[in-house]
């Protein structure tokens, strides 16, 4: 039986004094992309923040590759995250950004460079390694952010509206490239988006969240 990349059971999410959603059961298999759609305030981003560990779970369990990580620190969960904005580290080159996670894992510099070059190639940025991140366009920066998140081979990648700041044509092209790369890497992905078309184009399954606070 295939072990899910990420699995939540009866997960309750929210903040101290504010419950956002409860009883969330979600399974993402290797190479599977699950899109989450829903109105603002329904808890999509809070769910991602809880799975990654930025916001503590109020109840339930989170498993990554079969390992319970509900109380495990962020850096030990094996969960990657890409935001709406690329958030590239401004003092590092493109290559050093992509190598950041690999270096934290103790990967040798040579191996990290090879992996970085490979990912940049897949994401249509060959030869961009030595560039400053300030030289990149919005779409290029988001590709680098994706390469950086994928480089340490996370079990699951959380995409928090990563294409919403891009124009329609670029968004569609990048979404397809990203989907192909995720499947090639065998990474599970949860993709939060407001765009139903983007969800349908990219995802294997679409999950809808409703506003928990409304009757």
């Amino acid at each position: 039986m295939t072990v899910p990349r990420v699995e939540t059971q009866a997960l309750t999410i929210g903040y101290p004094g504010r419950l956002v959603a409860a009883g969330i059961d979600l399974v993402v298999l290797p190479g599977e992309i699950v899109a989450i759609v829903g109105p603002s305030g329904s808890g999509k981003s809070t769910l991602l923040s809880t799975i990654v560990g930025v916001v503590p779970a109020l109840g339930g369990t989170i498993r990554v590759d079969g390992r319970a990580v509900t109380t495990v620190p962020i850096h030990e969960r094996g969960v990657g995250l890409v935001f709406q904005e690329p958030l590239l580290f401004p003092h590092l080159s493109v290559q050093d950004n992509v190598m950041y996670g690999l270096r934290r894992q103790g990967t040798t510099k040579e191996e990290a460079r090879r992996r970085s070059a490979e990912l940049l190639e897949w994401l249509d940025l060959p030869g961009y390694g030595d560039r400053s991140v300030d030289e990149l366009s919005g779409g290029q920066a988001q590709r680098v952010a994706l390469a950086r998140a994928l480089a340490p081979r996370p079990a699951v990648l959380l995409l928090d509206e990563p294409f919403s700041a891009l124009d329609t044509e670029l968004r569609q092209r990048l979404a397809l490239d990203v989907a192909a790369t995720l499947r090639r890497e065998g990474v599970g992905a949860i993709h939060v988006t407001h765009d139903p078309k983007e969800a349908a184009d990219m995802a294997d399954r679409v999950v809808a969240m409703t506003d928990f606070s409304r009757p």
Binding site: P16, V52, G53, V54, P56, P73, I74, H75, E76, R77, V79, G80, L81, F83, E85, L87, F89, P90, H91, Y100, G101, R104, Q105, S132, V133, D134, R148, A149, A151, P152, P154
Partner: protein
């Protein structure tokens, strides 16, 4: 007019100072070992003070600029207090806090410098940190970085320009310190500033003092330039509107944030509280003796003078300084507005950092304190020197307010037949009233606390309050110490009242009217 004032009272004295070094004997002085032997001591002391201020200031900046909690505004304001207090007051407060048992010297000087300059680090780094998106750290942590590694590899490099900028300012303030070094230091903590004073007032070696002043000017300018370069080497950063984060819910995080705020308040208030207590303690018990004796101590001697008359002298000098600085600085700000020279404004604002108050005092003394131009008897030398320190501050306050004001009423008034001055006042009059009042307050605060230039230029019979405090402390006896503490407390009250007033003016009534369209 501003150019003429600065030429006569700044450029000319500095030129006179430089002329002492240009001649052959001056050059010999400049390269002499006696000119340089204080430099290593001052460098070590200033470096240690800077490291301590940055090390203590960073966690405080993190807490007060990023987290929202009850008492945050108080903690933020409290950090600013030591910076606005006169340095001799801070030195006396430290002596009061630590007691006579703690030996004067390196440790005490470094502690006091870090205390005074905490605000520089917290304000400069804090404003940068507040705009730093915490998701940078979250991303780093998802990539396997521990909390510390994320701070070290992502946050710290982003803050590096601000840290470098604040560190260079703290270094310069510590390197050119005089009041704290005189009151808390020993032979191991001399600065070039104290050396200049010693050469002038003890050794009567004016050429030697001029050479030391030139060395200091060059070193300080170099550090300033390096600081500006380092702070300019910043990559384009993602800035975001400042939104305060909630205090962490986990016990460790909560204790970290609230504990840091509480410790900050304790650190900042302890020396001032000790000073106030000292002013009410005589012969081991509570007493008003020093407060009631403030009018009479040594009133009969010209060496020390009456403490109360020192207060009157300081207040008179503060008023003259405020008038001169507001006229000169205000006109300079108007020139900035009408000529659109915002770069000149930032340059003017930074000039006094490079020219220490002792250098200013010595230059003024050499230029106007002896024939052919001897103004010592006029009582104007001190307020003029204080004005030179205050003018850039006035420009820094007034010019941005004028630049932010809506200029359109000026054109409307002119089209209706108003003369240029009337049209100008129609557009900028209300803003000018507020900022000039704030500027006058700042100039008064500067003048009341200034010690370096005043120590060179004060006449024996009419010292300013900071000079009087140092004179009192140089004498043995509990009475001198107690009365000095009373004067220091009065300065604290005056300075904080002025700063609070200026702050209220700045945040309340002064709202630049920017064009809506």
């Amino acid at each position: 007019m501003p150019a003429a004032f600065l030429t006569v009272f700044l450029a000319y004295p500095l030129g006179v100072l430089g002329s002492h070094v240009v001649d052959p004997t001056g050059w010999t002085r400049l390269v002499a070992a006696s000119t340089w032997h204080v430099v290593p001591l001052a460098l070590v002391q200033a470096s240690a003070s800077t490291i301590l201020a940055v090390a203590v200031g960073l966690p405080i900046a993190n807490v007060v600029s990023r987290y929202g909690f009850r008492g945050r505004a108080l903690a933020q304001a409290a950090v600013t207090v030591p910076f606005v207090l006169p340095t001799v007051v801070v030195a006396l407060a430290f002596r009061s806090l630590l007691g006579p048992g703690v030996p004067q010297g390196f440790v005490l000087v470094v502690l006091a410098h870090a205390y005074v300059n905490l605000a520089v680090v917290v304000r400069i780094v804090g404003s940068q940190w507040a705009q730093h998106d915490p998701n940078f750290e979250n991303v780093a942590r998802t990539l396997g970085a521990t909390r510390w590694a994320a701070f070290r590899t992502v946050t710290l490099p982003t803050l590096r320009p601000a840290i470098a900028s604040s560190a260079s300012v703290v270094f310069i303030f510590s390197f050119t310190s005089l009041g704290i070094v005189l009151l808390l230091g020993d032979a191991s903590t001399r600065t070039l500033e104290s050396q200049i004073l010693r050469q002038t007032s003890v050794l009567l070696d004016f050429p030697g003092a001029a050479a030391t002043a030139v060395v200091q000017l060059v070193l300080v300018s170099s550090v300033l330039a390096a600081g500006m370069l380092a702070s300019r080497r910043s990559t384009r950063r993602r800035m975001r509107p400042v939104t305060l984060r909630p205090v962490p819910s986990d016990p460790a995080g909560r204790i970290g944030v609230l504990g840091t705020a509480a410790i900050t308040l304790a650190i900042v208030t302890a020396p001032v509280a000790a000073l106030v207590v000292t002013s009410f303690r005589a012969a081991g018990s509570w007493s008003l003796a020093w407060w009631t004796g403030v009018t009479s101590v040594d009133a009969g001697t010209s060496r020390i003078g009456s403490p109360l008359s020192a207060l009157a002298t300081s207040l008179a000098f503060a008023v003259i300084c405020a008038v001169v600085a507001c006229v000169v600085g205000g006109l300079a700000a108007v020139a900035v507005l009408t000529h659109g020279r915002t770069r000149v404004m930032s340059l003017v604002a930074i000039v006094p950092l490079g020219i220490s108050s002792a250098t200013l005092g010595l230059g003024t003394l050499l230029a106007f304190g002896r024939p052919p131009i001897d103004l010592r008897g006029s009582g104007l030398l001190v307020p003029i020197a204080h004005s030179l320190v205050a003018v850039p501050l006035v420009v820094a306050v007034v010019a941005p307010a004028l630049l932010g004001a809506d200029a359109r009423p000026m054109a409307v008034a002119a089209s209706l037949g108003a003369r240029p001055t009337r049209a100008f006042l129609t557009a900028y009059g209300s803003v000018l009233r507020v900022v000039m009042l704030a500027s006058a307050g700042l100039a008064c605060a500067v003048s009341l606390g200034e010690f370096g230039a005043a120590s060179f230029l004060t006449r024996a019979g009419s010292p300013t309050v900071p000079v009087q405090i140092v004179r009192l402390l140089s004498r043995p006896g509990e009475q001198s110490y107690g009365v000095a503490a009373v004067l220091a407390v009065i300065l604290v009250i005056l300075t904080l009242s002025i700063v609070l007033l200026v702050d209220r003016l700045g945040t309340g009534r002064l709202r630049p009217r920017t064009a809506a369209a």
